[in-house]
């Protein structure tokens, strides 16, 4: 029998959700300040109105949920604690996370839509989800005339989403409660860097801000050397850093990375993309001087092998397809390898036009890219996709099974791998890895089917679907303002489910089902 959720459950979820919404509103003070400093009056009002809408809805929701909980408490004295001091359980945490991301998408889309650069609210929602989920697919119109304020917000969504919307709230707005870990896990971060989840969230921000300073300074210097004015070079440096380290893929100009015509920029972003694709736990070990971990860690080994194999496939595909990029090593590295690395780390930076990928790259080259995008980077990083740890675990399980067949039946076959420490392979670990992998494959398939139903070919549909679901952002030309609204909705769903790695989404679906069918 399915139990219908109680009013108190909804009140607890709503109350904590309102806190996260208010936290999101506070992050918008940054673009508001930018609009004031840059003298952009239109964007100032766009953000002022949005912040006000967020505060009205957040405060109203908080009041309603508190009142609903208090009235429930009177009827059932079991609820002794006040709503503010109550710890959400696993179900509450997961649903809160799933709803926070949807709320962030809608509220984050408001200033974009008000700017007039997105032709519909759906397009603005697409952009907003693409930003928060660090995907990088864009439906902006006339991006080259977009205000600095709106451009800053686009990139800031990636910085916030990359670390995790709830991580933002945990770091700055939540004093600390045991339910925090449940929300942290809901955002696809199942590994704690430090014993305390709040300290873990703060460490993630510490790493991010340190790299922000270093990365922005490097990109700023390169920008100025390449003829950009200091102010614009700094703005572009900060935006490109946020997009690269958070493996997002947005860029301030419509040509993406092709705008800069500069290999220095490409080298720095390649380094940042790889840093963004590394597990935050591994960052911690590197920061504390344990550099050997980089060579021993299963994720790094699998990432290296996977990049090499998929690059080989892509390079052969470019050669076979007669692409001009296969004519020499420099072109192959700057176009083939850069795109491949961008896809594998889930970033989505492009130094070629989307149309070129769709029309000039052979199917084999696209298959290499699709595999790279589908696999993704490390767990507990800012990347999407299946992730290297799961691929490593599945590979180890295969080796274990082969050993079981080869070795005598009485032999005890134990398989272990190195991930921060030596870990023995257990069936439940393999099962969990296979479940998530299967869920990703189904998600890639759903988008492919939707693309084909909209009249696109199999390979382009698979490419775009994988790009959306693995939060990559590379496009072969399907993502455009003119694509069917239904396909936009499917891609939004893919970006959301792919970023949260399903558990929070499945819990929300179960909760809604219980609300309808429960007794």
């Amino acid at each position: 029998m399915i139990l219908r959720p109680r009013a108190e459950d909804i009140a607890i979820i709503g109350y904590h959700l309102s806190k996260i919404i208010l936290g999101l509103g506070l992050t918008m003070l940054l673009p508001l300040g930018c609009s004031f400093l840059c003298g952009e009056r239109g964007p100032f009002f766009d953000f002022l109105i949005t912040i006000e809408i967020i505060f009205v809805s957040g405060l109203f929701m908080m009041q309603v949920c508190r009142a609903a909980y208090e009235s429930g408490k009177k009827k059932a004295p079991a609820y002794e604690k006040s709503i503010a001091s109550l710890d959400p359980n696993w179900m509450h945490g997961m649903i809160m996370v799933a709803l926070s991301w949807l709320a962030a998408m809608i509220l984050g889309a408001i200033p974009l839509w008000l700017s007039g650069h997105w032709i519909s609210f759906l397009d603005a929602c697409f952009e907003s989800m693409s930003g928060f989920a660090t995907t990088g697919l864009s439906l902006a119109q006339d991006l080259d005339h977009l205000s600095l304020t709106h451009n800053l917000w686009r990139h800031l969504t990636m910085f916030i989403g990359g670390q995790g919307i709830v991580v933002v709230a945990l770091s700055f707005f939540v004093k600390g409660f045991s339910g925090a870990f449940r929300m942290y896990v809901g955002e696809a971060r199942d590994e704690r860097v430090l014993p305390n989840v709040i300290n873990t969230a703060r460490f993630i921000w510490g790493v991010s801000f340190t790299y922000l300073a270093l990365g922005t300074a490097a990109l700023w210097a390169v920008g100025m050397k390449n003829g950009m004015e200091p102010g614009r070079a700094l703005f572009h440096g900060a935006c490109i850093f946020m997009a690269a380290f958070d493996t997002g893929g947005f860029a301030p100009q419509s040509q993406n990375m092709l705008y800069y015509h500069n290999y220095g920029m490409e080298i720095i972003t390649a380094v940042l993309m790889v840093l963004g694709a590394i597990n935050f736990r591994l960052h911690y070990h590197l920061w504390t001087g344990n550099r050997r971990e980089l060579l021993r860690n299963i994720e790094m080994r699998v990432l290296f092998i996977s990049v090499m194999i998929t690059f080989a496939v892509t390079a052969v595909g470019l050669k076979v397809g007669g692409s001009a990029y296969a004519s020499g090593a420099p072109l192959l590295l700057r176009k083939g390898f850069y795109q491949l690395l961008s896809g594998h780390t889930g970033t989505g930076f492009m130094t070629v036009c989307a149309e070129q990928i769709g029309k000039e790259w052979s199917d084999l080259a696209l298959v290499g890219m699709i595999c790279a995008m589908a696999l993704g980077g490390a767990v507990s990083s800012t990347t999407g996709g299946i992730k290297m740890l799961r691929i490593g675990i599945i590979a180890e399980a295969f080796v274990q099974d082969i050993k079981k067949v080869i070795f005598p039946s009485r032999a005890m076959v134990e398989q272990k791998f190195h991930h921060i420490k030596e870990v023995f392979l257990e069936d439940k670990t393999v099962r969990a890895a296979l479940m998530v992998t299967l869920a990703y494959i189904i998600l890639y398939g759903i988008g492919t089917l939707a693309g084909m139903l909209c009249g696109f070919g199999f390979i382009p549909s698979l490419f775009e679907s994988t790009s959306a679901a693995a939060n990559v952002g590379l496009s072969c030309g399907i993502t455009s303002v003119g694509m069917p609204a239904a396909l936009k909705v499917v891609y939004i769903f893919q970006m959301w489910a792919g970023r949260l790695e399903f558990i929070a989404v499945f819990t929300l679906a179960g909760f809604l089902l219980a609300a309808i069918k429960g007794k």
Binding site: I49, L114, G227, Y259, A324
Partner: protein, 169 residues
């Protein structure tokens, strides 16, 4: 000298051919849109073309040369040219419409000298329309909305404060 019909016919065709070739030379290279370049880049690879559009973003001078990006309304393409060709030009952004220019030069589908970028090596950059400031219109409804919402926030905060005070009593 006697002019025969045969001589006249030859002269007519010669002058016609000369006129056609002169017209072609005077018109300059073919003006191509970004759609045409992106849909079939191989067709124009290595050919001298004209491309018209607005300079966007930055004018990036690098020694004796410079990069500009020209957007024809659909897509932008990189233009590599001598620094003297971009002197005095303005690029467009949020507050400014950039110079609308016509660039003429060699199109590269994957330029070997620039890491495979699709670009135009322009010999000339001609301004068609000078840059101008862009109007920033603010809807009066936006101001009213901002004031109304500010009022709503104040009301909510007062009600929350009142609720807390009542609870304390």
């Amino acid at each position: 000298m006697r002019i025969t019909l045969k001589t006249l016919t030859v002269l007519f065709f010669l002058s016609a051919a000369l006129a056609v070739s002169c017209r072609g030379a005077c018109a300059g290279p073919e003006t191509v849109s970004s759609s045409a370049l992106f849909s079939d880049p191989g067709l124009y690879d290595g050919r001298t073309i004209s491309f018209e559009g607005e300079i966007i973003g930055d004018i990036m001078k690098r020694g004796r040369y410079a990069w500009i990006n020209v957007n024809d309304g659909r897509s932008a393409i990189g233009v590599f040219t001598a620094a003297e060709n971009v002197a005095g030009l303005s690029a467009g952004g949020y507050k400014r419409q950039g110079d609308i220019v016509r660039v003429s030069g060699e199109f590269h589908r994957a330029c070997p000298g620039h890491g495979g970028d699709m670009d135009i090596h322009a010999g000339s950059v001609t301004v068609i329309i000078k840059s101008a400031a862009r109007e920033e219109a603010i809807c009066p409804a936006a101001r009213r909305m901002a004031v109304l919402l500010a009022g709503a926030i104040c009301l909510l905060l007062i009600s929350m404060l009142y609720g807390r005070l009542r609870k304390k009593r």
